[in-house]
Amino acid sequence: MAQQNEHLTTEQLSAFLDKQLSPAERAVFDAHLASCQQCQSRLADLRLTVALVRALPQEEVPRSFVLPSRLAPVAERPTPRPATVTPVPQQRRARVSVLQRTVRTVSTLAAVLALIFILSGILPPIHFGGGEATSSAGSVPAATNQRAASNSAPTPATTFGSAQAADGTKTPVQTQKSTPAATARSSIHSGTSPAVQPPTLPPFLDLSRPEGRLALGALLLVLGIIGLVVTRRRRGAVY
């Protein structure tokens, strides 16, 4: 009797709507509800609330959520645990990172070697500064003569240009970084005899000369920088 006079709780009203009251609860519920206007209207309110939520329309999907088929190779290896469905991209990523690391290491080595070559290419001219200076001073007129000759006659100009190109491929940075003496010497080389040049070009012979070391150093430096830049970009794209 005392239970009947107590108003029903919201939980009881809510559970009633879902038919979740135990038989005992249900008996108390029915007995009270029959005689309580207040609980009847509370039940009506709650029922309406539920009806409003249930009446919310099912909305159409804005797009399809199918997974891209590129996921297929990822999962094509049947694996015992769910966590192992993911490793293949990790493997791929690991393979890429190993490749990256190798390229970066080689590039760094190349850059270090390049610095050594460049230093050893620059140092002798400083060491023998006097001798180089005189030779360069003597060679300047020869170079100007060459230019004058190339301006006047078209055929020597082409030979001069091709000779410079042949030499230029070996010494791209030399003209920028080296001393005036070195540029002068390179112009002498190009000027003297393009036919004699090729035998002197092989690295073994070339390394004995400072400009050869400079050229190799510059080449290695360029390669090293390219390697480092490329691996950095790749890393950015992977993650």
Binding site: D45, L48, L56, P68
Partner: protein, 212 residues
């Protein structure tokens, strides 16, 4: 979309478990509207709901090995969806309103009819069949978003998705008693919200307002 036969679904699941994305995508096509709507009612924003739905299916595919046959695949997907939606909500709402809940959740009876005065009598006769206009839909949606996350999950799973209390308990890893309590408190809170905002309701829904 037609109903997926139980055997067909089981086959698609087992093919998905051996890594067949195309099989899984058939399941996606079948369940995407359910999942999208579940998340939409949880979060309220269509673009966000689409993103979270996509994440849900990716997560489901990755975890499909852990699905045990025999239980409902739909309920399993809904669990992932509700977890994803809750995670998203927590990430974007750093200061939940849950601290006020205990004060606001009144489980005690209160006087008078409130909400039923808001609707016209013919609709009240068979409320499940009425069509909600846009404003009322938005109001209900906002009311859902006002609910604390645990109550919102329970109410959406129960009243939008029609899961049983047992399924919701499994889904949220709680007891039946907790589910019952959360649903009741969520509904009561929503009722109060709708009543507080009755002035926003279209004229036809407040013909009998404030009779108390």
């Amino acid at each position: 979309m037609g109903e997926l036969l139980r055997e067909d679904e089981a086959l698609l699941i087992s093919r998905s478990q051996s890594g067949d994305v195309n099989a899984f995508n058939q399941l996606v096509l079948h369940y995407q509207q359910t999942i999208y709507n579940m998340i939409l009612r949880m979060l309220g924003d269509r673009d966000t709901a689409a993103d979270v739905a996509q994440d849900t299916f990716i997560a489901a595919f990755r975890a499909i090995q852990s699905f045990r046959g025999g239980s409902s695949f739909r309920a399993w997907l809904l669990r992932i969806a509700s977890n994803q939606a809750c995670d998203h909500w927590r990430r974007t709402h750093r200061h939940p309103i849950d601290s006020l809940d205990s004060a606001m959740d009144e489980d005690e009876p209160h006087g008078g009819s409130l909400l039923s005065t808001l609707v016209t009598t013919d609709q009240a006769v068979n409320p499940e069949e009425f069509l909600l206009n846009q404003e009322l839909q938005e109001l209900i949606q906002k009311g859902l978003q006002e609910l604390p996350l645990d109550q919102r999950v329970a109410v959406v799973l129960c009243d939008v998705q029609g899961l049983t209390y047992e399924e919701i308990a499994t889904n949220t890893q709680t007891s039946l008693g907790t589910v019952r309590s959360r649903i009741a408190r969520g509904r009561a809170r929503l009722r109060d919200y709708l009543y507080r905002h009755r002035e926003l309701l279209p004229r036809s829904y407040r013909l009998l307002t404030d009779r108390e």
